[in-house]
């Protein structure tokens, strides 16, 4: 018996009204100030990117070579213009849409693929497990950026293609995670208890393993999204990103690098800061979710 539970002693549960697990999790998530900050940041950034263009309308299709490198504030360009005359703020909104969508989609895709493969490996065990896990080991030993570049070099990158590339190869982490989770959950006493009632493996998966693994999967998915956004940035920096006129924060930041020494700071820092903020936001949310899911299991 741990010394702490020794000190606390059992409490009578019947005097507080019952609260659902989701409600309790939500309470804990909200107690975590950083998680709320993360959520707020995400809502703010997504709101600006997706709703901003309705208010702040700019032309992001045609270049305007008469208005290049305008400083912020000049002629109504709140954040100035870039080397081909696009309004920088409008471009940030457009780029943000791509970054967020690609990040979310790739993260979700990776999570789904990884969860399925990991679950299959964990449930079936034996040679299926061994086969899947050796492939995971092999692919994990190829540094992910090398892998993405290998693919990006072969196909022509576009937003959907990047989602596919990143999603199809970032599943390794979730796969490993879910497999481990499935293996431990499979041996839990409540799964054994269910088997003792005559329950089948399918029921174990549906009623016990998935509901208990889902928290881990969701938490991991938020980190996957953050990573995917960074990967898009790296690929853009390496010249394998989405070609113009489409924009994304990573690409804008890479383009801005060229302007480091020319004093056009508005082309460098805003996309850089935007990436940092969105990645931080997803990390904070992930941490908060982890606490929320964990606390639901904490006994007394």
């Amino acid at each position: 018996m741990s010394t702490l539970s020794e000190a606390v002693g059992p409490a009578e549960p019947n005097d507080t009204p019952p609260r659902g697990l989701w409600r309790q999790g939500l309470t804990v998530f909200c107690e975590n100030r950083l998680a709320l900050v993360g959520l707020g940041l995400f809502v703010l950034l997504a709101g600006v990117c997706f709703l901003g263009p309705l208010v702040y309308q700019t032309d992001q299709v045609h270049t305007d070579l008469t208005a290049v490198y305008r400083a912020p504030g000049e002629q109504g360009h709140l954040l100035g213009t870039d080397g081909v005359g696009y309004d920088q703020l409008g471009r940030l909104m457009l780029g943000g849409q791509t970054s967020i969508i690609v990040g979310l989609a790739a993260g979700v895709l990776a999570t789904i693929v990884g969860t399925l493969l990991g679950a299959i490996a964990g449930f079936f065990g034996g040679w299926v497990d061994a086969a899947v896990m050796r492939v995971v080991d092999a692919m994990m030993s190829i540094p992910s950026l090398f892998l993405f570049m290998l693919l990006a070099a072969i196909v022509t990158p576009s937003a959907p293609m990047l989602i596919l590339i990143i999603g199809a190869f970032a599943w390794l982490g979730p796969a490993r995670l879910v497999r481990g989770e499935a293996l431990t959950l499979r041996s839990r006493e409540y799964v054994q208890a269910m088997r003792g009632m005559g329950g089948t493996g399918g029921r174990a998966v549906r009623r016990h393993i998935i509901p208990n693994a889902i928290g881990t999967v969701i938490v991991n998915a938020t980190f996957q999204v953050a990573d995917a956004i960074l990967y898009v940035a790296y690929l853009s920096f390496l010249g394998l990103g989405i070609p113009p006129p489409a924009a994304n924060w990573g690409g804008m930041l890479s383009d801005g690098l060229a302007d480091t020494y020319s004093g056009h700071w508005w082309l460098l820092y805003p996309p850089g800061i935007a990436i940092i903020l969105i990645v931080l936001a997803f990390n904070f949310i992930g941490d908060g979710l982890r606490d929320a899911f964990e606390v639901r299991l904490r006994r007394r």
Binding site: A7, V8, G9, E189, Y190, R195, G196, M197, G199, R207
Partner: protein
């Protein structure tokens, strides 16, 4: 044991105690708080205790009583968030709270020693044993490396460690639990402290090992002339070892007295209730027919303000005064904080230990014949007619081996662990069959095999006339209606994300019993049966206490109207007062529903209370089987006798008459069990013949021993119970 009895008498005489001079350790009004996320728990509230040099003080209480916090407060080892907020800790006359930190650390290292509960995690896994044991010497006494090693070997030898000159170079995980606890004791004693604090030192160990360790501590106390604070939840452990006892409840000391006095004539209603909740008391008073006297409810939450007596809510002698007045300890040699204490018979208050007579109320003094052969005429709880029916469960020549895999690519089986070897027994309708043995004896495996969770390597399990081994999938599923498993840790056995209504509905859904309204009705009935309110349905497992969870677990087991429930240590994780509630419930349900139980436990006294018949297992073998009272009171196998002797008891006569059949040594590996009788390597009676395997022979009371302790009693009242 005789030495300790002598000491007890010497110290418990009040005059001697008073003359003992200044106490070694004195706690005055100690308050300890633990800051947690959701508020502060007042773990200790005004604890005052003293320990004389060379004396053993037993501190006993249930979980949450603050006994461990008291020990940790003295040692300055409170968990994070914990803080002593008031009072004094006077050690050799100096208040540890006002001394500089370095000084306190030195005192802690040299003058005090502490032994913790869990020997598996209490030693540093990456430091050699010699270095860990000698560390206090090296740090506090600046002893050189070579000398420290010698001293470590010396002290290890003293604590009974075989081959200490080799053990010093080993790592902790190379030793068994009992051996590690010896190392921990050696470490605590290496600087010859004047005070040893042992916090549940034997709780994680088997009873036979427990006995060895407790005796070791007793011997060492004498030899080193040190005082001992023995913290435990187990009244029996205290009864045999301590000079004085302090009973704690909800952060307070509620009663303190000389050991004999306390056990003969407890004054506080809580102490009385606690003692009477022990199965041992029910057996002594009624031969085991009566319900246990349980304590209703749960201890109070210590994070809020409390008024009045903290036990008031659970006390059957409560008056309005109890709820408003906070009773304090009444000074004297027998202190208690109770407004309505158990009355004492005249002359029993201050008399010497021997003169204390039993309390007036409800205590039928036991005849206490430890070797009583004639079993009490135990009324068969189930309808006697059923006895002649087919057994519910019949296990024949059951074998379970687990392959041990090598680590190579091919994972060839490197050998096998013989978990269950040729075990046969029967369980009849309405009967409780107890299965006892120490960890690793295979009793849990037998349980899991019986409910069909695992398949045997060989042998038959016949449930209600059908052999489990040749069932088809469909039949197998239906079979699970007949027999259910009840777990030790109900929390682990319930999906934390399912509400109680879903948990209880699960067996009905799996077996496709009834429609949803029929299921609802069944669940409601189940809750009534186990004594929980409907409001439990909307809650999650983590909102319940251990006892309540065990009720829910029992309700789930009952859902399908099984004929047999296999309980694997169903009450081992519970406090005594809660354990009594659950045991009573199990018995009531058995009577109502005609259930049969297989009751698996390491705790012989609980099995003794619950079971009609008992099987004793050792290293995969059933060594003895027979009527419960006979197996416990007239054991035929030396191992059974050793188990019986090792069980700590609060009955004074049992304490006094322990004979010397302690078994020594370590449990052999089940990977390579001894040939012949598996117990022969540790048996005090082993002879040449024991290298051949003894068969299980006898009538009602069978034993697998070439040299049984006693013949099967003739003229036993025969029930038609010929086994296997």
């Amino acid at each position: 044991m005789s030495e300790s009895i002598g000491l007890t008498a010497r110290h418990s005489a009040p005059a001697v105690h008073a003359a003992a001079g200044r106490p070694l350790l004195e706690l005055r009004d100690l308050d300890t708080d633990i800051a947690l996320r959701r508020g502060t728990v007042h773990a200790l509230d005004g604890i005052s205790l003293d320990v004389a040099p060379g004396q053993t003080l037993g501190v006993v209480g249930e979980s949450g009583s603050g006994k461990t916090m008291t020990a940790l407060s003295i040692m300055g080892l409170l968990p994070s968030g914990g803080r002593v907020t008031g009072g004094q800790i006077l050690f050799e006359g100096r208040d540890l709270r006002s001394l500089p930190a370095d000084e306190v650390r030195r005192i802690r290292g040299v003058r005090m020693g502490m032994v913790f509960q869990d020997p598996l995690t209490s030693l540093n896994p990456t430091i050699r044993i010699g270095a860990q044991v000698a560390e206090p010497l090296r740090v506090h006494k600046r002893v050189g490396r070579a000398e420290a090693r010698d001293r470590a070997i010396q002290i290890l030898r003293r604590v009974g460690m075989p081959r200490p000159e080799r053990i010093v170079d080993n790592y902790p995980h190379e030793l068994s639990g009992g051996m590690r606890q010896r190392v921990a004791i050696a470490m605590a004693l290496v600087c010859s402290p004047s005070l040893l604090i042992a916090d549940e030192p034997t709780t994680a160990l088997d009873v036979t090992t427990q006995r060895q360790i407790l005796e070791l501590i007793d011997d060492l106390r004498e030899e080193f002339g040190m005082a001992v604070i023995l913290v435990t939840h187990d009244l029996g452990v205290i009864a045999g070892r301590a000079d004085r006892v302090a009973v704690m409840y909800a952060g307070r000391v509620v009663e303190t007295a000389a050991t004999e006095q306390l056990f003969h004539a407890p004054r506080h209603r809580y102490t009385e209730a606690l003692m009477r909740a022990l199965p041992e008391s029910a057996i002594r008073d009624s031969g085991g027919h009566d319900r246990l006297i349980s304590i209703p409810g749960l201890p109070p939450d210590l994070s809020g303000p409390l008024t009045g007596c903290r036990f008031a809510a659970r006390c059957s002698y409560v008056s309005d005064e109890c709820r408003t007045t906070d009773p304090s300890l009444i000074p004297g040699t027998h202190q208690h904080a109770c407004l309505h204490p158990v009355p004492t018979p005249a002359g029993a208050v201050t008399g010497p230990a021997g003169a204390v007579t039993g309390p007036a109320r409800a205590r039928v003094e036991p005849a206490a014949e430890p070797t009583r052969v004639e079993p009490a005429a135990k009324p068969v709880t189930a309808a006697p007619a059923e006895v002649t029916e087919l057994p519910v469960l019949s296990v024949r020549n059951l074998v379970k081996d687990y392959p041990v895999h090598g680590r190579g690519l091919l994972r060839r089986a490197a050998g096998q662990v013989s978990a269950v070897a040729d075990v046969s027994f029967e369980v009849r309708a309405g009967e409780t069959f107890g299965l006892v043995g120490e960890s690793g004896c295979g009793k849990s495996t037998v349980g899991r095999l019986s409910v069909g969770l695992e398949r045997p390597s060989a042998g038959q399990i016949v449930l209600d006339g059908t052999d489990l081994t040749d069932l088809t999938g469909r039949e197998r599923r239906r079979m699970h209606r007949q027999v259910q498993l009840m777990f030790q840790d109900s929390y682990a056995a319930m999906n934390p994300r399912m509400r109680v209504d879903a948990i209880l509905a699960e067996p009905l859904e799996i077996q496709k019993v009834g429609d949803s309204s029929a299921r609802q009705a069944r669940i409601a009935t189940l809750l009534d049966q186990v004594g929980l309110s409907r409001r439990a349905l909307e809650r999650y497992p983590h909102e319940f206490s251990g006892g309540q969870l065990q009720r829910i677990g029992l309700a789930r087991s009952l859902a399908l109207h099984p004929r047999l429930i296999v309980g694997d240590e169903p009450v081992s994780a519970l406090d005594v007062s809660i354990q009594a509630q659950v045991l009573n419930l199990m018995r009531d349900l058995q009577r109502e529903l005609g259930l049969a139980y297989i009751f698996i436990s390491h705790d012989l006294s609980v099995v003794d209370y619950m079971a009609d018949r008992i099987g004793v297992m050792y290293l995969g073998k059933l060594v003895e089987i027979g009527p419960a009272r006979e197996v416990v009171r007239a054991a035929r196998h030396p191992y059974t006798q050793a188990l019986v002797d090792a069980v700590p008891s609060i009955t004074p006569d049992r304490v006094a008459t322990r004979d010397g059949t302690t078994i020594r040594g370590e449990l052999p590996s089940a990977l390579d069990p001894p040939s012949g009788c598996r117990f022969r390597t540790r048996c005090p009676r082993a002879a040449d013949i024991c290298t051949t395997e003894p068969p299980l022979v006898g009538g009602l009371h069978q034993v697998a021993c070439h040299l049984p302790l006693r013949p099967e009693p003739t003229g036993t009242p025969t029930q038609d119970q010929a086994v296997g």
